[in-house]
Symmetry: C2
């Protein structure tokens, strides 16, 4: 088993080759990786079977079992994902601006890879090929540290991808898996400043928190979403109902699902019973404050904890507010800075919401569910950043790049 | 003395006001701050006198004394700096791109402030007003933690700036000084994740290293520059001489000064004696490898340590290389990723240098001394980033911003 420092050194060696690889070479390799996954399907499914057997012994929860399970379709989807990445424009080598300075130097700002990206993630083996493909296309070496539960599956996927790299005369060490899945290896990655340019945690709130609190490697914080929908007094009832139902129930386990409904006092009496009816079809449990409970048939009392919680389930906190001001203050206090929506017919309420809500994506009259790289039209997504440095919101290929200044002189001195 | 948590809370309160402040309001405040510094000149110089007296008691070095000293001219320059910042375009509120997604949502990416910026710096009191002005113009609250040596000067400057903020009905807590100048307060800032969006260390290599190794707050690493000039075998002697002399001697104490000269073996015999002559005018001490020493009259033998060192003085490491390849490999191994230059007449050598050298600014036929926000034409500079995340190279006002997606819908759900 290689140490993280050994993996780091090898990744740094691969970095130079990757930065110089042509778009054509990278796309051909991605297509070969996709073919390879299909060719190695049996081996991958066998490895996954080992993980699933172990998971059963461990009495793993049903939802985790589902995330862990690979099927023929899922392997095919992983392969298709790599083919889709091959079709996206190469984010490397763009000179987004170039100018001449006072001394006559031509200065261009050119996109370059970040270098070596570390990814710490949990149970889903499809993240392995997705993340590897996106890092590879953007010219980055990647060190993947997946969860213990998916170890055999991840190893089979990475072996397959490395075989394809080898066949293209590209360094296998462009994509590496950390074989030590103990907590120790995760901690070691967090301080591997010498070899990692950035660390991206993908997973639950606990993992993200541990990485943010302990890493000295630059981190991109992703994916915790305590998202809000605020229904203004001027809102149309049907639109409000559609948006909150969609934001809560379309896919409750994802980060862009709504967790709290705020509603203006002037429409609470009329709207809340109808909203409750609509949410009842999905058996959504409501945690409501006193004022909201008055207009609801069946709800639990909400506490401070409910305003902070990302349920990721068919549960919703509900609060009646006196004003747009109170709504914005509540959101900026409790939100994780992911996605928030206002439903309103009032021009100035929409303007203020856009301006004053301090989150990565701020919607007027649409569901928070749109916050992802695919829905935004980026064609890919490595995660959704909830921090302000480097990238904020859905991250596609351009967010996996840095820049350098290339300067053309004719002997200028200062 | 307020705790850092108290300062953090107050900065967060100021953040919301600052993000909404109009360009006009910010510029008027900057001009008032400039006037204020001039009005308070006597008080500021008196405070500085206290610091200087204490510094003398402490047997402070001459160069540190120089950095610490304020004069009437220096205070006027600080005021002029704030006026210049007022003239720069407001980096906040730009919608750099806007598009319509498949569902018909209009999605705009708008620049917003980072939030609260922490700055840890050392002895120069003029950094206090510079950094405060840049953070303020970009709508950020700032918490300044200057060095112990400059404490009274910093306090006088910040008090003056706060008075101007107050006079404009803006929160004084937009600009705050940490009064505890112990090591403890610096360490506390490094993990103040709840209140700081980013931490920028400005100072010597020791400070930068301590912050990078210990901070869990997102950091922008700035300013260590082990910069190289490589003279290719096709270089013109006069141009090579001008560039290395300028890069080494124009201002040796700054981060974009050259620290190592690499020279191709085919021109070492002809060029090195002439370069030595030219550098002799500034008494530059040469640390040369065996091959270079043969062509030099007076040099010390170079060791591994010399390749790594940022002399920041009239000293230069010199090494003869066999090829462009060897030069690039040496640079990518020892450089801090700041600025590197090649002197060459060969088109393909220039191309390869631009592509393969992994630094923030890569020059063909110009001095490394141009790497700063003013020379690049940005009109300002908060520092020079040597990391790849968020910003790389000279950082002006746009590098002090983040973005948010503002989305305009008409009831879209997913």
């Amino acid at each position: 088993m290689e140490t993280l420092i050994e993996l780091g050194k090898k990744a740094k060696q691969a970095e130079r080759y990757l930065a110089q690889a042509s778009t054509t070479a990278k796309n051909e390799a991605l297509l070969l990786m996709a073919e390879g996954l299909l060719d190695d399907k049996t081996a991958i499914l066998e490895a996954n079977h080992k993980d699933l057997e172990q998971a059963e012994v461990n009495n793993t929860s049903e939802s985790l079992m589902d995330r862990l399970t690979l099927t023929t379709e899922r392997v095919e989807a992983m392969a298709q994902g790599l083919k889709d990445i091959a079709k996206l424009p190469d984010p490397i080598g763009l000179v987004e601006s170039m100018w001449t300075n006072e001394a006559g130097l031509k200065i261009g700002k050119q996109s370059v890879p970040l270098g070596v990206i570390g990814i710490i993630y949990e149970a889903r083996p499809n993240v392995t090929s997705d993340a590897a493909g996106l890092c590879f296309k953007s010219g980055n070496a990647v060190i993947l540290r997946g969860g213990k539960d998916a170890f055999h599956s991840n190893l089979a996927v990475v072996s397959s991808l490395q075989k394809a790299l080898s066949a293209c005369d590209l360094p296998e060490t462009a994509i590496q898996l950390v074989e030590d899945t103990s907590r120790h290896s995760a901690n070691e990655m967090m301080t591997l400043n010498r070899y990692l340019d950035v660390l991206v945690p993908r997973g639950g709130a606990g993992l993200i928190k541990a990485v943010v609190e302990n890493a000295t490697v630059p981190v991109i914080e992703t994916g915790t979403g305590n998202c809000h929908v605020y229904i203004d007094q001027s809102a149309q009832l049907e639109m409000a109902k559609d948006i909150i139902v969609n934001a809560k129930t379309d896919r409750p386990s994802v980060c862009n699902a709504a967790e709290t409904l705020l509603i203006h006092k002037d429409v609470a009496e009329e709207f809340l019973p109808e909203i409750e009816d609509a949410l009842n079809k999905w058996d959504v449990v409501l945690h409501a404050d006193d004022k909201a409970q008055k207009h609801l048939n069946d709800s639990l009392p909400a506490s401070e904890k409910d305003w902070e919680k990302e349920y990721l389930d068919y549960e919703l906190a509900v609060k009646v507010v006196d004003s747009l001001d109170e709504a914005i203050t509540h959101i900026n206090k409790y939100s994780t800075g992911h996605s928030e929506a206002i439903v309103t017919n009032d021009y100035f309420s929409g303007q203020r919401f856009h301006k004053e809500v301090n989150s990565a994506a701020v919607y007027v009259n649409a569901s928070t569910r749109f916050t992802d790289g695919f829905a935004f039209g980026f064609g890919a997504e490595i995660g959704i950043s909830t921090q302000k440095l480097h990238a904020r919101g859905p991250m596609g290929l351009p967010e996996l790049t840095s820049s350098k200044y290339i300067v053309f002189g004719e002997g200028q001195i200062r």
